[in-house]
């Protein structure tokens, strides 16, 4: 018996032992079949796998079909889903899948960005609801076509800016910042996503696709297929891959789109990659309160500080990250009105106030010592995988019980703001946004 056989036999043996009552079995939960949704996924690479894992715990979700042009990803998805109790049909070409999978209720699209519009539009046209990863597209024209197709077909299209469904972000932004206005005017925002230096992705030799197949699906080479995020044909580069999630928050906070942008960056470290490996950008927001600015950076040569966002207002600053250990507090400025009422309501966790303003004894005049702001932790923790609430929101909307948290119009506005950062790097000057650019 080799290792793999052994491991399988242990799993099988314990499954038998367990089901035969080595531990009493839980009664099969009685659930209504009417809630079951038949789901397919197109694109089973790294992000597709995250979405599969995040969708499987949602009650009633039945994966029926998977699609990927790469045999390695097909096998992974099929095998993972089979072991998880979902038997799926496997497709290489999404058109073939549309032709044969008439019984699906919804599909998830997690392909490289450049294929989002074509695939999502085709599924919408075929009458299915679609959850499509962000960025909508690396081309605004294609992104626009998704908004139009959704409108025309009336099917649901959720774009994968998953912070829009994260209860921590909803609490921080909708309740604390927008409703309670605890930060006062948020004059500045900051976001960053820094990652360590990393090699180009490789592939197992035996799974290399031949050139005929690569040509058929529009990829120049296996190297470009695996590292599509770095090439202009297929993606938008790190500012889009990573920055999009966080730049999306700026317009959420201020309730409007940016009015201007400046940016610097370049393909400065990695040889042979097209997209900018570092981008630093400043957005200007012309809000009813006045001009507010947001700074964002994405670095791919250092992980210093990781990823988080900060919203800085005259009365305090809120630091948050999708991973709460990286950001989860609101700092109160000493002069701000009391936050005790929010603590009483459970909107913030109460803390002891830090140092009060005081006087020094040995000088003639009172000297105000800057009080260290008290740090108030956020009271809400996300208790599931980060993508699960956004998928739940989508599936609830498919069942007619919720409104989408990120419909295509919202995601389109973000795409306009984010893709412009690359344009601004190239232009090397301030670029103004026209309000109509954000409209479809």
């Amino acid at each position: 018996m080799n290792r793999r056989d052994f491991i399988q036999s242990v799993s099988a043996a314990s499954a038998v032992a367990l089901s035969q009552g080595a531990f009493a079995q839980a009664p099969a939960p009685a659930k209504s079949k009417s809630d079951d949704l038949n789901v397919g996924i197109i694109g089973c690479g790294e992000q597709g796998r995250v979405l599969i894992t995040s969708a499987l715990p949602i009650p009633g979700i039945k994966f029926r079909a998977v699609c990927d042009i790469w045999e390695y990803s097909q096998q992974y998805a099929k095998g993972y889903l089979k072991k998880s109790g979902h038997d799926v049909n496997v497709y290489e070409d999404y058109r073939d899948m549309i032709a044969k999978e008439k019984g699906l209720d919804a599909v998830i699209v997690a392909t490289p960005d450049w294929m989002h519009a074509e695939i999502a539009n085709a599924w919408l046209e075929s009458g299915k609801h679609v959850y499509c990863e962000k960025e909508m597209s690396n081309s605004l024209e294609k992104a626009r076509s998704m908004v139009l197709t959704q409108r025309k077909t009336g099917k649901l299209l959720q774009i994968g800016h998953q912070r829009r469904s994260n209860p921590r972000y909803i609490h921080a932004i909708d309740r604390l910042i927008r409703e309670a206005n605890i930060l006062g005017r948020v004059t500045h925002a900051y976001g960053q996503w820094n990652r360590s230096v990393a090699d180009a992705l490789g592939w197992p030799k035996k799974y290399a696709m031949d050139q005929t197949k690569l040509d058929k699906y529009g990829y120049v080479s296996m190297e470009q297929f695996r590292n599509w995020r770095w090439y202009k044909k297929y993606g938008g580069g790190p500012i889009v891959d990573l920055g999009s999630h966080q730049i999306d928050l700026f317009s959420w906070i201020w309730g409007c789109n940016p009015s201007a942008i400046v940016a610097m960056g370049g393909a400065d470290y990695y040889k042979g990659r097209e997209w900018f490996d570092n981008v630093m950008t400043i957005y200007e927001f012309n809000t009813p309160e006045g001009v507010n600015r947001a700074y964002y950076q994405v670095l791919t040569t250092t992980k210093r500080g990781g990823f988080y966002e900060q919203f800085m207002g005259v009365n305090g600053a809120l630091t948050i990250s999708e991973v709460s250990a990286r950001g989860d507090t609101v700092e109160r400025e000493a002069h701000a009105p009391s936050w005790d009422e929010y603590a009483k309501k459970g909107w913030l966790k109460p803390v002891k106030e830090a140092i009060k303003p005081t006087t020094t004894r040995n000088v003639a005049v009172d000297v105000r010592v800057t009080a260290e702001a008290g740090k108030w932790p956020l009271p809400i923790e996300l208790l599931k995988p980060a993508h699960q609430p956004h998928l739940e929101n989508f599936f609830d909307a498919v069942r007619g019980r919720a409104k989408l948290n990120c419909p295509p119009e919202v995601a389109f506005e973000t795409a306009v703001a984010v893709l412009k950062a690359n344009d601004a790097v190239v232009a090397g000057r301030r670029i103004e946004f026209k309000p109509e650019e954000f409209k479809v």
Partner: protein, 339 residues
């Protein structure tokens, strides 16, 4: 570089509060590095699913359930729990991933053993044990049973600990198999090592043999008469008192495990060897002996507190497939033998 000996490539990655390392033999450096990167991405992903410290993980979610509640967990968490349940059942409850509350009661933050009353001990013991988890392989749900003691509403505290790390090694090995890298050594911070294929001359493998030489027996190697095993197609895990002091608790009694000073287990998977090395610390020598006798694929080495060292095998060489498929003469089936 010694001429004629192909070099080994080593890559390390910090994850699961330790440093994982992979040593690759017989591959071109760039290919090996890309495969290692793919493997480390998989281990990062598993950490997110299995770590009790990450509030979104299935294990953290499980630990928040109230008795009577159920959770649908992912395949990976279910497989780890299933293996943990299997080893728990097969080793008389000496390996228990739910033992946390008992551990916290018995030992303070610095790890010193506490004086507690029998009643306190009994109450804590009633909150632990794999019986508290009902695993349903049909729908991957885990249901929490009420505790049998005075507080039926007590939550469980599942900590996959080393089993999670061992499982990550096994999953990483699957990725390397996809990459057709057969000769590789993987470890999770040295407590568990998975050795596949042949390390060859560069890894110190003796001429004419196949495998990876691994240090074993620690401070007792002189008494054991060997300090190395040659491993291939199997995993080796060690558990002992020499590093962290007397740190293993007997889940059956709540008291410090008193039988062995150290234990090593060899098994076909790292998740299994990890679980077993802990169990072998706790079990009596007779129990370890009996466990190994019925499983030719498992070997043990234990250092007895009283009688000195027990040897694992007559020779120092364990090589697979010879190891797994070896026809063991009846006299050698007793893998544990008193010195």
């Amino acid at each position: 570089m010694t001429s004629g000996v192909p070099p080994l490539h080593r890559f390390a990655h910090e994850v699961m509060t330790t440093v994982f390392e992979v040593v690759v033999a017989g591959q071109e450096e760039t290919y090996a590095r890309q495969a290692a990167a793919a493997m480390f991405r998989e281990i990062d992903r598993l950490e997110g699913l299995l770590s009790r410290f990450q509030p979104c993980s299935d294990i953290a979610q499980l630990n928040r359930l109230k008795p009577g509640e159920s959770l649908r967990v992912c395949l990976e968490a279910f497989e780890c729990l299933q293996l943990a349940a299997q080893v728990y059942a097969d080793t008389g409850g000496t390996f228990d991933v739910t033992v946390g509350p008992l551990m916290n009661l018995m030992r303070d933050a610095k790890g010193n053993w506490q004086r507690i009353t029998d009643a306190e001990l009994a109450a804590a013991r009633a909150t632990v044990g794999m019986e508290r988890l009902v695993l349903n392989p049909q729908d991957f749900t885990v249901t929490i049973r009420p505790a049998a003691g005075p507080d039926p509403s007590a939550c469980v505290e599942v900590d996959l600990g080393a089993v999670g790390k061992g499982y990550a090694l096994d999953k990483a090995a699957e990725i390397l198999a996809d990459w057709e890298i057969p000769d590789v050594l993987l470890h999770s911070g040295t407590s568990s090592v998975l050795a596949l294929g042949n390390g060859g001359e560069a890894a110190g493998c003796p001429a004419g043999k196949r495998g990876w030489p691994l240090g074993v027996a620690g401070d007792w190697s002189r008494e054991a008469g060997f300090d190395t095993v040659l491993l291939s197609g199997a995993a080796l895990s060690g558990s002992g008192t020499e590093v962290k002091g007397q740190h293993v608790l007997d889940p059956r009694t709540g008291r410090p495990a008193a039988n062995h000073l150290a234990a090593w287990a060899i098994a076909p998977s790292a998740a299994m060897s990890d679980a077993l090395s802990t169990a072998f610390m706790v079990m009596t020598t007779a129990e370890v002996n009996s466990y190994c006798r019925s499983r030719v694929e498992v070997a043990a080495l234990v250092v007895e507190r009283r009688r000195g060292l027990l040897r694992m095998l007559g020779d120092k060489v364990i090589a697979t497939p010879a190891f797994a498929a070896r026809a063991v003469p009846p006299s050698e089936r007793n893998l544990l033998r008193s010195e």
